[in-house]
């Protein structure tokens, strides 16, 4: 298919030809084309369908403000819905599909909606579909949902990579048009660190779209030369294809660089897009301005586009939507488009200018004081109907109509801190206000300076002011300096089906209805009509809607309201914000020192926070996890087992006030703890609830090692630093985490001492007398390796915890297994660990759930009243000390075969089963190999006094309803003889 609408010149590379597909038809294009320009060149005007009425749609613009020309780009798991044809660069093999149509773009069944548009006005759905009630979800909503939406996701995982990075500069220049380029030149030549970012793949902005010259060069040549100079400066970073999406606090800007969207396939490991968190001292917004359309009857047909876009397609992309075009304008800029197109050989049907005093032109006919009143052409414009000044009508044949309603400065980023733009009468538009994000200044068209000369000058001056530069500014090339000459004209009086938001199908009629029904604030208008809620965020529609509402309300536009904008400037793939943090890389993975050994042993691992821990160690022939876990428990209780408990937090607490400090953070006392001894400690939050528990081992007068639960290690350390720095700043105490420095293993069971004696160096006596229960100390093992030994027990057995530097942890574990063979040593995982602590009645995460007090945990008496500690005062509130307060108890099924379910609730043995009669709940449950039945820990109202009571355990969620007996939580060795053995 030949490119029938290709014109001469342009910034495309005619020496090479690219093949691409749209709706399964082959076309050709040239490097430098966008999908939109290429389709126009191939005489394709119909590109999509609108959201609600499924009206035929072509391109309206030549940039990222495009509401209509959106397609599904690429195929398979790389399918990209709602992609703007006006910014998508053509690459060899590009494949695009139109969307939101069925069965085909030309014949779309849902175009029927257009016939019923009179019934489908703004907000109609709030007024109906209410009867009968069930029909909404059963019938109406499914139909609406099916019809809704635009493009479709592939439903497959996105295969591409995304990256994130961090940039720093003195001046971030947003937009590389005349203002931005001049600013970069000014700042760059002084050696400041400058980043110049532009969403386009070609830097230059409008300069690439215009036919006039700068100095002796064409505008685009000047842009190219300037870019060349800038790219030679080491302190200037040019970032094309980079959209600055948001202005965040304190000079942080989000910028999205599209590194891979313009190529067919990416090399492995290369990201498709990069999110740059950009830190800058000053930012200069040179985002230019966006032309706005005029609302008139049927102004949405393919072929009707912004006049400036037409000019861009002609001058930059060397193409036109049709060979015969008309222009409808309220300002001089429209005339410029006509002469540029005519210069390229496009026939100008006429320039329809609403102004009676419009300038005359000998190259083409100008219809002064005329208006376009209607258009025709089902799938593309065929002619427009014009009302002439004398009231007579005239039909103009044309395949395209350029509309020019004036320009809106792109103030978006100035609003990202909720700043409000101010009305500018000369522009008849909103320009940046005074409440800009700190550090931001605005130059060029974005600031309302529409002429090229003005843009160049303000760019240079603003850069100098932003960086406080002394000395002369660079010379400015001579450039057009035309004044703004326009008569505000928003919509044709009396028009109804005149489109404002062309994607969401919001017409002038809808705005009128919104006003009629009292939805008159900008926010109500937007929300009621969906004006400006489409993928273009109303860049070309909000102003007209506001102007019409103002007229209806008999107020000025600024009185009626402003339109402010939120990030992102243009839509950003969710994957880009996520970067690399997905799949297995979502969070870092922490491995224990014995991990590689455990893997060799075929351990099953489980995520515990960011840690991977061995859950159990299956042996050949074991088919169910319970077999492995029961074996690990039995063998440990019968002889000896080893478990990696490195993940417990370890905090080194030193200083002459270390003991006094621990007295503050633990509710129980530590001042009198003897050197070489370890003590259990319960830590409360200031609100009196249990925060964490662990042990503190006193290695010296001024040195403790504190352990925390795995889950709370970070919080406890932060809390301790708070207490140290903010509450008791003069205490001589220093804290540092040593969690990862030491590989720590629990060696538990009656033979644990015997096993350890084989590796602990002989000069250290670990007999019961020399190293009793709760003893601790520094020792050496395996012939001189420094180690720490603690005689503490979570399992309830005679047990130790031994720690060596992490790099030796792997070897120590292998040694323990080797030396333990004679005792039939068993490695055990977190499951067996959990079973044994439940059998012993030790509270853990499920019990320390943040809503339980020391009293609930049966440790009420531990809270010392003789001293001040965090949480002690508030723990005395009446609500936390009621007679029927929850108390931790043990439960056993009356029928030994019954299962206990964690999360089940306790009810009286007889009586109703409902919330009112709830007596408590089960926190932890397990099968106990030692008792040969299921057991559980529970919180029960007044549980301390209810041992021996029979109750009903219910879990309607999982169909459990069994009889249980309330027993002591210490199922195994309640007197604790074993651990003192």
């Amino acid at each position: 298919m030949t490119q029938v609408n290709r014109l001469s010149g342009g910034l495309i590379d005619r020496n090479s030809t690219l093949n691409f597909r749209f709706d399964n038809r082959n076309y050709t294009a040239h490097p430098g084309d966008t999908l939109a320009s290429a389709l126009l060149a191939n005489d394709v005007r119909l590109i999509g369908r609108s959201f609600k009425y499924h009206r035929p749609r072509g391109v309206l613009t030549a940039g990222s403000e495009e509401p209509n020309g959106i397609v599904e780009l690429r195929a398979g798991n790389r399918k990209e819905p709602n992609t703007r044809a006006t910014t998508a660069e053509v690459y060899e093999g590009l494949d695009a599909q139109s969307q939101n149509r069925w069965p085909s773009l030309k014949f779309d069944a849902l175009a029927i909606n257009d016939r019923f548009s009179n019934f489908l006005t703004a907000g109609f759905y709030y007024k109906t579909f209410m009867w009968p009630a069930v029909f909404w979800e059963k019938l109406y909503e499914p139909i609406i949902r099916k019809a809704a939406g635009l493009g479709s996701l592939s439903m497959e995982d996105d295969p591409d990579e995304y990256d994130k990075g961090f940039l720093h500069c003195d001046l971030l220049i947003i937009g590389a048009g005349p203002a931005g380029l001049m600013a970069a030149l000014t700042a760059g030549r002084t050696g400041s660190d400058v980043i110049l970012a532009d969403e386009d793949f070609a830097l230059g902005g409008r300069l690439n779209s215009e036919s006039f010259s700068l100095g002796d060069d064409s505008a685009s040549d000047w842009a190219a030369a300037t870019v060349a100079e800038l790219s030679a400066l080491p302190n200037v970073r040019l970032m094309p294809r980079t959209t600055v999406i948001g202005a965040f606090d304190h000079g942080i800007y989000g910028a999205v660089e599209r590194t891979g969207d313009h190529v067919a396939t990416l090399p492995v490991g290369k990201p498709r897009q990069i999110l740059w968190r950009t830190y800058t001292k000053r930012a200069l917004l040179c985002a230019g301005a966006t032309e706005r359309p005029i609302a008139f009857e049927n102004n949405d047909r393919p072929g009707i586009m912004l006049a400036s876009a037409m000019r861009t397609y002609a001058n930059r992309f060397a193409t036109t939507a049709a060979q015969r075009v008309a222009i409808f304008t309220n300002n001089d800029d429209g005339h410029r488009t006509a002469s540029d197109l005519r210069a390229k050989g496009v026939k100008i049907a006429a320039v329809i200018d609403v102004r009676d005093d419009a300038p005359i032109n000998y190259e083409f006919e100008v219809l002064k004081g005329a208006q376009v009143v209607d258009t025709k052409g089902r799938l593309g414009l065929t002619f427009v109907e014009v009302a002439l000044a004398d009231g007579s009508r005239r039909i103009l044949e044309c395949g395209a109509l350029g509309v020019s309603g004036g320009w809106n400065p792109n103030v978006h980023l100035t609003c990202h801190h909720r700043g409000r733009p101010v009305w500018n009468d000369d522009l008849a538009a909103f320009a940046p206000g005074d409440d800009l994000p700190p550090g931001m200044t605005v130059a060029g068209a974005a600031n309302g300076t529409l002429s090229t000369h003005g843009a160049l000058q303000s760019g240079a001056e603003s850069a100098a002011i932003a960086l406080d530069l002394k000395g002369a500014l660079p010379d400015l090339p001579k450039a057009e300096d035309a004044p703004i000459n326009q008569t505000p004209f928003w919509y044709l009086k009396g028009c109804a089906r005149a489109w404002l938001d062309q994607q969401n199908d919001v017409t002038v009629k809808d705005v009128k209805l919104s006003h009629q029904e009292g939805f008159r604030s900008v926010e109500h208008l937007k929300r009621y009509t969906t004006l400006g809620m489409a993928t273009d965020q109303g860049k070309t529609s909000n102003m007209a809607g506001l102007a019409i509402m103002a007229e209806l309300a008999g107020k000025s536009i600024p009185e009626t309201g402003t339109t402010i904008f939120r990030p992102p400037y243009t839509p950003v793939p969710i994957g880009t914000f996520a970067g690399r943090m997905k799949g297995q890389d979502f969070h870092p993975t922490r491995l224990t020192p014995s991990h590689y050994w455990a893997k060799e042993r075929g351990a099953v691992f489980v995520e515990v926070g960011n840690w991977l821990r061995a859950q159990w160690f299956p042996l050949p022939g074991e088919t169910h996890w319970r077999e492995s876990v029961d074996r690990e428990v039995r063998q440990t209780r019968a002889s000896v087992g080893v478990c990696d408990c490195t993940t417990l937090g370890k905090i080194d607490v030193q200083g002459t006030d270390a003991a006094a400090f621990l007295n503050k953070v633990y509710c129980n006392g530590f001042a009198k703890l003897a050197i070489g001894k370890t003590r259990y400690g319960l830590m409360l939050r200031e609100d009196g609830m249990a925060m964490d528990d662990g042990t503190a081992a006193r290695l010296a007068e001024d040195h403790f090692v504190v352990t925390t639960t795995t889950a709370n290690a970070v919080n406890v350390y932060r809390h301790m630093e708070f207490v140290r720095q903010c509450l008791f700043p003069d205490m001589d105490v220093q804290l540092i985490s040593t969690t990862e420095a030491w590989a720590q293993y629990a060696v538990a069971g009656p033979n644990s001492r015997k096993l350890l004696q084989k590796i602990v160096d002989p000069e250290f006596d670990i007999s019961n007398d020399a190293f009793p229960f709760m003893g601790c100390g520094s020792i050496t093992v395996c012939g001189g390796l420094r180690a720490r030994l603690f005689r503490i027990s979570f399992s309830g057995e005679l047990a130790f915890e031994i720690a060596v530097p992490s790099r030796y942890g792997d070897a120590l574990m292998r040694r323990l297994m080797q030396d333990g063979e004679e005792f039939d040593v068993v490695p055990y995982g977190t499951e067996a660990l959990g079973v044994m602590r439940i059998e012993k009645g030790h509270a853990a995460g499920n019990e320390l759930n943040g809503t339980t007090s020391a009293l609930n945990l049966g440790m009420g008496r531990m809270v010392s009243k003789k001293k001040d500690s965090i949480g002690s005062t508030l723990s005395e509130r009446e609500g936390l000390n009621e007679p029927d307060a929850l108390m931790m108890v043990g439960i056993k099924p009356v029928n030994a075969d019954d299962k206990i379910t964690a999360g089940a609730h306790l009810m009286d043995a007889s009586g109703p089963v409902d919330a009112k009669h709830d007596q408590g709940y089960v926190t932890s449950a397990a099968f106990s190999p030692s008792l040969d039945c299921h057991i559980g820990l529970a919180f029960l109202k007044n549980g301390g006094a209810r041992q021996g009571e029979r109750m009903r355990l219910v879990s309607p969620l999982t169909d459990v309803n069994v009889e249980v007996e309330i027993v002591s939580a210490h199922f195994v060795d309640p007197e604790g003889e074993r651990l003192r053995a």
């Binding site: 968190r277 002459t656 012939g783 001189g784 420094r786």
Partner: protein
């Protein structure tokens, strides 16, 4: 001498080295670490003793200094002492002996894993990894920074040559992040 064999943070018996184009990432297990935190009221004394130990003035905020035993600033009156592992496996004790009661000293050797990054595009790699303005970092600069959600230290040994300390248990994730960034900048 004990008979337990050490493994590196990445789980090997030998340190891992990865090269992508002109950037090299080398695992460095041969370093001993000990933290030093001055006792209250003894800050001056602690600094003096530390200076003696590393042979130069104690490093200021955001700096490191000393050779072969060096120290970098980690917090108010807190430093991390670095030394060759082979000669200083018992570094914490050696530092404690040198500083005495003027400071609290804690062994940190195996709390951290170290990767040394060298090569032409190392700045481009670090730019993808951490928020630090690495292009402005000079020889002797040391800063804490989050890499891949991990709290790390980044030391600039010389322009184009950096050391990254990260938590040992997450060595695999940190290494993966670094090598991925190296490939990303190709």
């Amino acid at each position: 001498m004990h008979d337990l064999a050490a493994i590196t943070a990445l789980g090997g018996s030998e340190p891992r080295v990865d090269t992508v184009a002109d950037v090299t990432c080398a695992e460095v297990p041969g370093v001993a670490l000990a933290s030093v935190a001055a006792r209250s009221g003894q800050e001056a004394k602690a600094q003096k003793a530390l200076a003696k130990l590393i042979g130069v003035k104690t490093p200021d905020i955001g700096r490191f200094a000393g050779d072969p035993v060096s120290a970098f600033w980690t917090g108010p009156d807190q430093w991390m002492v670095e030394a060759p592992f082979d000669s200083h496996e018992g570094l914490a004790q050696q530092v404690k002996d040198a500083i005495g009661d003027a400071a609290s000293v804690t062994e940190q050797t195996d709390a951290w894993t170290r990767f040394d990054l060298n090569g032409g595009r190392v700045l481009a790699v670090l730019e993808l990894l951490c928020p630090l303005d690495v292009r402005k970092m000079a020889e002797g600069d040391a800063a804490r920074a989050a890499i891949h959600h991990l709290g790390c230290f980044v030391l600039c040994r010389s322009p184009g040559s950096f050391s990254v300390y990260g938590p040992r248990s997450s060595a695999g994730s940190l290494h993966h992040a670094i090598v991925t960034a190296m490939k990303s900048t190709l």
